[in-house]
């Protein structure tokens, strides 16, 4: 039917580019995961990565890190977007400033935060002890109870601007007369947000959350630069484990096996997400 083929034609260029450059890596990785160092077929790599406790620990940490990050990134990002949508003097400048945490190079942000959270050099301990908010310096990045929350906080700082900008763009599409009508009905600001704003930016929020999920599953810069996954694997996440297997431990076959497993799990999560979240599209007739 005409409709179907037109749609396909629109998406074809993008699909072709992606196919060309993704198909080979997938095949390569799967192949690598099924052979050993001498090229013989084996399932040993999968056994070797699944057995040690560290694999489960890293995956658990990953879920905690990504889950915790996403909740707050979306929350603060959306609040920021709503704020930035209001008219006030200096709004353009504030919008640009909001962008800064996201734009700052990851490795520099990571090392700056690590520096600021340092038990001895860190400005944070200095300010908190100076203001008598805490009795003594805290080992933010070395204490098992604080290391993950601190890393999550840094991750939220880094990425909430992304959410803010994306949601802000979505907010622009909401017609002002909808707010007018609500005003007439006597709604206050927060009711407007709940009943008008949020439902209308839902597609954007859904997309953004998915993106954060995918990003989070692969992002190693922040944690790697700050704690290298330590202390004692407390902040180790699966992508870092894969990186270490591939590039520092010379276990490329095991790294490939872990990559395949990780890919399958991530693909399932994404597929479920895509199917479960209904898309209310007006379709071309």
């Amino acid at each position: 039917m005409n409709r179907s083929s037109t749609g396909l034609m629109f998406i074809l260029p993008a699909i072709a580019v992606l196919l060309m450059l993704i198909a080979y890596p997938i095949v390569y990785t799967v192949y690598l995961s099924l052979i050993d160092a001498h090229g013989a077929l084996t399932g040993k790599n999968y056994a070797n990565v699944l057995k040690p406790y560290v694999t489960r620990q890293a995956f658990g940490n990953l879920l905690y890190y990504v889950g915790g990050s996403i909740v707050f990134q979306v929350l603060f990002g959306t609040l920021a977007a709503i704020l930035l949508n209001q008219k006030f003097w200096g709004r353009s400048a504030v919008r640009s400033i909001t962008l800064i945490p996201w734009v700052v190079p990851g490795i520099v942000a990571a090392t700056t935060w690590a520096w600021m959270f340092h038990t001895e050099f860190g400005i944070i301990n200095y300010m908190l002890t100076g203001a008598h908010i805490i009795p003594g310096p805290v080992g933010w990045l070395t204490n098992k109870d604080t290391v993950m929350p601190v890393l999550i906080a840094i991750n939220v700082w880094k990425l909430f601007p992304f959410v803010a900008i994306m949601v802000l763009a979505g907010l622009q599409a909401i017609p002002a007369d909808l707010y007018e009508a609500a005003k007439v009905d006597g709604a206050n600001f927060w009711e407007e947000v709940w009943y008008i704003t949020l439902p209308l930016v839902r597609p954007v929020l859904v997309a953004v959350t998915l993106l954060l999920l995918i990003w989070g599953l692969n992002a190693i810069t922040l944690i790697y630069a700050i704690t290298q996954g330590g202390p004692a694997n407390l902040s180790l996440i699966t992508p870092i484990q894969i990186y270490q297997l591939a590039f520092t431990s010379f276990q490329f076959n095991e790294a490939a096996a872990l990559s395949v497993l990780f890919f399958i799990v991530a693909a399932i999560v994404v597929a479920v997400y895509v199917k479960v979240i209904p898309s209310n599209t007006a379709v071309a007739r």
């Binding site: 050099f121 070395t142 290298q228 431990s249």
Partner: protein, 404 residues
Amino acid sequence: MKLKALAGGLAVSTLILLPSLAVAGDVVWWTPNWSQARAQKLADDFHKANPDINIKLQITTSNGLPQQVMTALQSGSGPDIIEVQHGWVQGYAQNDLVQPLDDTIQEKDDYNKAVIAEDTYDGKLYAIPYRIECTALLYNLDDYTKAGLDPANPPQTWDDWVAASKKMTAGGVYGMAITGGGEFGNTITRALPLIWMNGGDIISADGKTATINKPEAVAAIKFYTDFYAQKLSPDSTLQNDGVANRQLFIAGKVASYLTGQYDIAPIAQAAPTLKVGAFMTPHPAGKTTAGILNGWSYVIPKDAQNPTDAKKFLQFLNTSDNMGYFTDTFPARVSSLKLPRFQDPLLKPFAGMLPFGRPTPNTPHWVQISQAMFNGIQRILSGQQDPQAAMDQANDEIQALLDS
């Protein structure tokens, strides 16, 4: 091998059709940015003597280097010469990514034996070392003398070492900082030799059994972590690597710490009035000291475009004088050590450690094994386990790796 065929098949078919990118007579050399100027000079000198060979420098950075090198080697299209750390050579050799260089090295007996052993796999030499360094104790001269210690009589034994550190811990200054964070190599370099000094080892000589929970090893690990337990090392130890300790040293918070001579220049630059001294790493009474020789070697990738000229260049680079000129710390050749630049009295303790350097065990899982040891040390420092329990767990993990 099949892997190479699959990967190479795609590339080779095109390479046959298209002209190769490197001209015969070009040698591509990946060299790090900190020695760029010296590398350029050596390349120019070589070119003058061999006008038909062009040395092309491509500068690498420390950040991301393992990934960069690994990708180039695995994809079969790397440069002709790469500078890598000794510790990586085993991995490359075991995976057939670099060429044997037995035919290239000259005057092999002049080289430090331990580092040659590090670069040897299965009886063949896979890299030519040019730079070695060992850690020793660096101390703040003012703190040292104020504590009543005599620079001419540094601590020799572990007991003396602890006593000296305790004396230097006063007035908000920590006497002896250990590393407990950062890249695990920092801590392995400092802690593993202590195990060796005490008569233990991380794995058995035949590479089949993990021995890190034996009494000698555990006692050494406990000695190391006790510096933190007894508050001779800063509160931030779990997040400090060698560089952080240097910064604390510069800031006057730490009186001494284990490090290599590469810290002397940055300290002088950041704190010109700070006077330093050094002494060799103390050993248990009645035993000898030990160290790990870190540093850099040259490798030639298996699929290098121009290995013949590259080997010629390597021989030029590794003459006693050139090696002595190029190295940042110490040369791998004993004869080079006689050059004037290595005669600084401050360098004497560091040079004195070189003969006591030992190679790290020659096993395919070395990186993961050392990671297990490091995790164990971190568990002790964070109070999660006592030394014996931590080393028992590390032992199990290491044994599992050796058995796999």
